[in-house]
């Protein structure tokens, strides 16, 4: 056993359990887990499932903070179980609960369908009005690094729902779109290739849209990827107000590059070798 794998401490995992077939309400079950350096909460849950209680259910996939499946409430903080070292957040006790503001399917598995429905309602994709160009593209769209920077941060979202669990408005308002869908809307609104902002404004500018955000900042604090949904929503609100007051600058149509092979090569770049197939 490597030095780092020695048990440092035993930690009590207070895990929320709920099986809709047998339980009327969620309850907390405590498991004692021997923890070694470098062990994540996800590893701890695996230890419980393999050695203590095979009936424990949770959702996970990549175990490296990329897929966004294992969002849960750890010691009251919504965060990713795979991204959290047990010894960084727990001395003797660790509460593991499903993300709040969602219905629980079982144990630590929240039902995120409502979030994805809201997400879908905001058309989270590049909307174009020039159908002919889409069907028969004349060239590639060009974006400068500055154009890219205007929305790049928001593209890192992994839809883990930690922001939705942290949001105080969502704690009471079931219809509020929430930080993740609104940040996604802003990501596409700011994309120079997109023409769908006014369509999205009809949703984001409604009663349950961006104006239900009051900048408590919890979503940005919770985000495990640094996406900063609160910032996205404030910029979204600004755009909504400017659109309402007709003060938005007219958007320049996205520049297009030449079609493949039509560009002018730089002088010191050798010609491509002849095609072999």
């Amino acid at each position: 056993m490597p030095e780092s794998a020695k048990t440092v401490r035993e930690i009590s995992f207070h895990v929320t359990r709920y099986n809709p077939e047998n339980d009327r309400a969620p309850y907390i079950k405590t498991y004692t887990v021997p923890v070694h350096e470098g062990m994540t909460v996800l590893d701890g849950l695996h230890y419980i499932k393999e050695n203590l209680d095979p009936s424990l259910a949770w959702r996970y996939s990549c175990r490296m903070g990329v897929c966004g499946s294992c969002g849960m409430l750890l010691n009251g903080h919504p965060t990713l179980a795979c991204n959290t070292q047990i010894l960084h957040i727990a001395n003797a006790d660790l509460t593991v609960a499903p993300l709040p503001n969602f219905e629980i399917i079982r144990d630590l598995v929240p039902d995120l369908a409502i979030m994805f429905d809201k997400h879908r309602s905001l058309k989270p994709y590049v909307v174009r009005t020039d159908e002919a160009e889409i069907n028969d593209p004349a060239g590639e769209f060009y974006q400068s690094p500055e154009d890219l920077e205007a929305y790049l941060q928001y593209t890192y979202c992994i839809k883990c729902a930690c922001c939705m669990a942290a949001c105080p408005t969502l704690a009471t308002d079931a219809r509020y779109l929430g930080p993740m869908p609104l940040a996604a809307a802003q990501r596409y609104n700011e994309d120079t290739r997109d023409d769908g902002r006014r369509e999205r404004n009809r949703q984001t500018g409604r009663a349950y849209g961006a104006f239900r955000c009051h900048y408590a900042g919890e979503c940005s604090r919770a985000c495990p990827k640094g996406v900063d949904p609160a910032k996205a929503i404030q910029h979204l609100k600004r755009r909504l107000v400017l659109d309402y007051l007709h003060l938005s600058r007219r958007k320049k149509p996205c520049a297009k590059l030449h079609g493949p092979g039509q560009g002018k090569p730089l002088p010191n770049i050798p010609a491509a070798p002849a095609k072999t197939a």
Partner: protein
């Protein structure tokens, strides 16, 4: 987009209130330090000082303006808080209706009072 309109004016009303209610607070609560618009000394809220301010058109106009924007800002804010409790649509409509009636009613009352006291103060000053 209707909410965008309401919210934009909620913000704008907030800015107006910041200045007008700020002045009001300077007069009423920091009067001992600033001695603003209270020429008769003593408490800023004393009857003579009140009547002095009521007789000036600036105060009558700003009272009515502040009344309107503050009612809008406050009632819209409360409506937002209530709506965040996921009310039924019929209850939301009722809340909006009650707030509109309450707001217009109090605006009418306050406007009437500001104009009446302005007239009284003017007559008093002349007589």
């Amino acid at each position: 987009m209707r909410e965008t309109k309401y919210w934009t004016w909620h913000m704008a009303a907030g800015v107006v209130i910041f200045f007008l209610l700020g002045l009001h607070m300077l007069i009423m609560h920091l009067g001992g330090t600033t001695h603003l618009f209270a020429p008769f000394g003593g408490e800023a809220v004393s009857k003579v000082n009140s009547v002095f301010r009521d007789g000036r058109l600036f105060f009558t106009v700003t009272y009515i303006l502040l009344l309107g924007v503050a009612l809008y800002h406050g009632l819209y804010g409360l409506r937002t808080i209530l709506f965040e409790l996921t009310l039924k649509p019929i209850v939301e409509k009722l809340v909006t209706f009650v707030f509109v009636v309450l707001g217009l009613g109090l605006f009418g009352l306050g406007t009437w009072a500001a104009i009446v006291v302005h007239a009284i103060a003017k007559t008093g000053a002349r007589g």
